[in-house]
Every structure is written in C-alpha cells, then in structure tokens.
Symmetry: C2
DNA sequence: TCTTAAATATGACTTTTGTCATATTTTAAT
DNA sequence: ATTAAAATATGACAAAAGTCATATTTAAGA
C-alpha cells in the first residue's frame, strides 16, 4: 500500500507559503495590507508598480496578489493604469483610507467584534471569562484600524519607526 | 428572471448561527471553549451532562457540538462515560488544562503567532507597522492562554467576577 | 440477558477561503 | 493602424472549516 502524499502541484506549493496563524486577519487581508503599505511607500501617481514586481518584495504568490489588487482597485483603495507603462499606485486620496477600509473591501464589513468568544451579551459590566484577558486592548486595536490612515503608517515607515520587509 | 436565494437547507440554517468574526479563534475553538467552561462549573465526576443537554445553554448546534466533545474527550481535555446515566464531565485533572490545550486539540498546535501580519522577522526591535498597535498585549494574551487553567477560570466564574451566559 | 440510553467512530456534504490560469480590454509607443 | 504591455474579468479548482447524520459500541437497570 503506497500512500499518496502530494496529490497535486498545488498542495505541494502550499508548503512554501506562509503558515496559517490566528491573527484575526484572513490571509487575504494580510496580503492586501502588505501590498497597500508597500505601494504607500514605494509608488506614486507617476511611479507605478506592476503586479508582478510587487509580488516578490512582499512575499505573496503573484497570481493571487493579482486578484487582490484588482479587488482593491475596484474598491477604490488603490489606483491603477492599464497598458504599457501602467501599473498600480497609491494616490494622495487613496492614502487617506484606513486599514479597516482595506479589510472591508477584501473580506466584507463587520468582521470585528470586541468579544473573543463572539458573545453578544458580553461587555465590561458583564464580562465573559476571556474578556479581561484581552478585550480592552482589543477594542483599542480595532479603533486604531478604523482611525489611522495608510498615510500615517507610511510616515511612520519613512521615519524609521517601523519596518517594511514583508 | 427569478433569483435563487437559499439553495439548500444548510445555507438557510446558517443564518441562525453565530456570525463569523475575526477573533483569532476558529468557530470550533470558540464552541469548544464554551463547552469546557460550562462543564467546569456545572459538571463533576458524579454529575455528568449529556451532549444534547449541553448544546442549548452554550448556544452551539447540537450535532456539531457532539463531534467537538468527542475530540475533546479523545484529547484528554474532558471526561466521559458511555451508556445510560452517562455523559460528559470535567475531572479535577481535566480542569488543570489551559485554554491553549483546548484549542490545540481542536485546531492543532502552533496556530498563534505574535505578529499580526504573520511576519517571521517582526519583533520588538524591528517591528512591522502593526506591531505596536497590538502585539505587546497580544503576547500577554497568548501567555495567559498558556498559563491560566480551566480551574482558575471556573473559580472566577463562581466568584461572580466573570459571567457565563454563552 | 435484554433493552435502552448514552458516547464514539465515521463519513458525506456544504460553505468559505485560498490559489491559479486564461481570455479580454485598454493604452502607450512605434 | 498595429503591436505589445499592462490591468481586468472571469471562472475553475483545491484546501480548510463548518455542519449534519447514522451505524457502532458500551454500560446501566429491569
């Protein structure tokens, strides 16, 4: 009895990709955030970046990234220009979006809930057993996602306070 | 042109279930945690609870819960007795497990990573743009998952510091 | 010992997420 | 005008997560 270990090319390649970890973002959202941040610091209206040149530096499978870029573009989060010399870039207006806008476009709205067990009745007055372990800081985090603009992040990167290698 | 809205019984029922939210736990893990906590305060070696009596109070689809209980039992997180008067319960030893043990049994090990973008090279010295937004408190949270025992949680519940309605 | 009530094992199926490929459209440059 | 280089649209397919059902095993109690 021989055992089939890799049924397809896909399941083999998947070993090379990033591990699934629980970070409250979907993989798609993580990929999209990385792409947007990279474009924020490296592109502009007249310095566009092609999809295939974006994939490597941010470590995202190129074909998948292409699809995400299209969704982001349709959603108004990034800009693009077709044809030769075309590519993707972030306009000033694009950079005013928040990270929450990014994940909303990619995964849909209202995916964040303050309670870690997704309990409707959980709140500071009647906290669930996990509440105090994380919810206060979690709320604060969700708030930052809603408030900090891409532009603010890219300033932080340019000031060397945080780092890109993605 | 009529539009098919509900193709199957399942997709209809799914509207009644809990909404998918990004909480760094899978739905299965949330269900399992709720079950374990409920058993911790409501069961004992000689007060066993049947699967079907557990589903309602913790708000989990009964057939799905049955499967989770079996995994937890196999994984040594909860105890069970077959046959009439049988059911599930938490022994003293069971209650010494941590919540991390619960999710490890349900979803597998090593699902938690401190970086929100799952970047390997991200750390306090070279933080990614999201790092300071959440990672420090996130690390602390992951640590609690690893340290606090079920027993400690159930004490907190009994002392009225946190609440169960799940 | 028989019956019945419980967990257990197993697996079919659905939905969601992740991945890849290809044909089409747009546009710059010749 | 034609060509070539880019994004865009579309959809097929794979893997993971979630859901449900049913046959089997175990044990209590009559």
């Amino acid at each position: 009895m021989t055992k089939v270990i890799f049924k397809t090319k896909n399941s083999f390649l998947s070993l090379l990709r990033i591990k699934y970890t629980y970070t409250m973002f979907s993989n798609s959202s993580k990929y999209a955030i990385k792409a947007v941040l990279f474009l924020a610091v490296n592109s502009s209206e007249n310095h566009r970046i092609m999809g295939k040149d974006l994939a490597a530096p941010i470590n995202v499978p190129q074909a998948y990234l292409a699809k995400l870029l299209q969704e982001l573009s349709r959603g108004g989060i990034i800009s693009s220009k077709k044809g030769p010399k075309g590519g993707f870039f972030l306009s000033k207006e694009n950079a005013l979006h928040t990270l929450m806008d990014v994940v909303n476009v990619i995964d849909g709205n209202d995916k964040f809930n303050s309670c870690l067990l997704s309990l409707e009745k959980c709140n500071a007055d009647k906290p669930c057993p996990l509440h105090d372990l994380a919810s206060p800081s979690r709320s604060k985090f969700i708030q930052s996602l809603n408030q900090n603009t891409i532009d603010e992040f890219s300033t932080q990167i340019e000031q060397g306070k945080v780092f890109l290698p993605l």
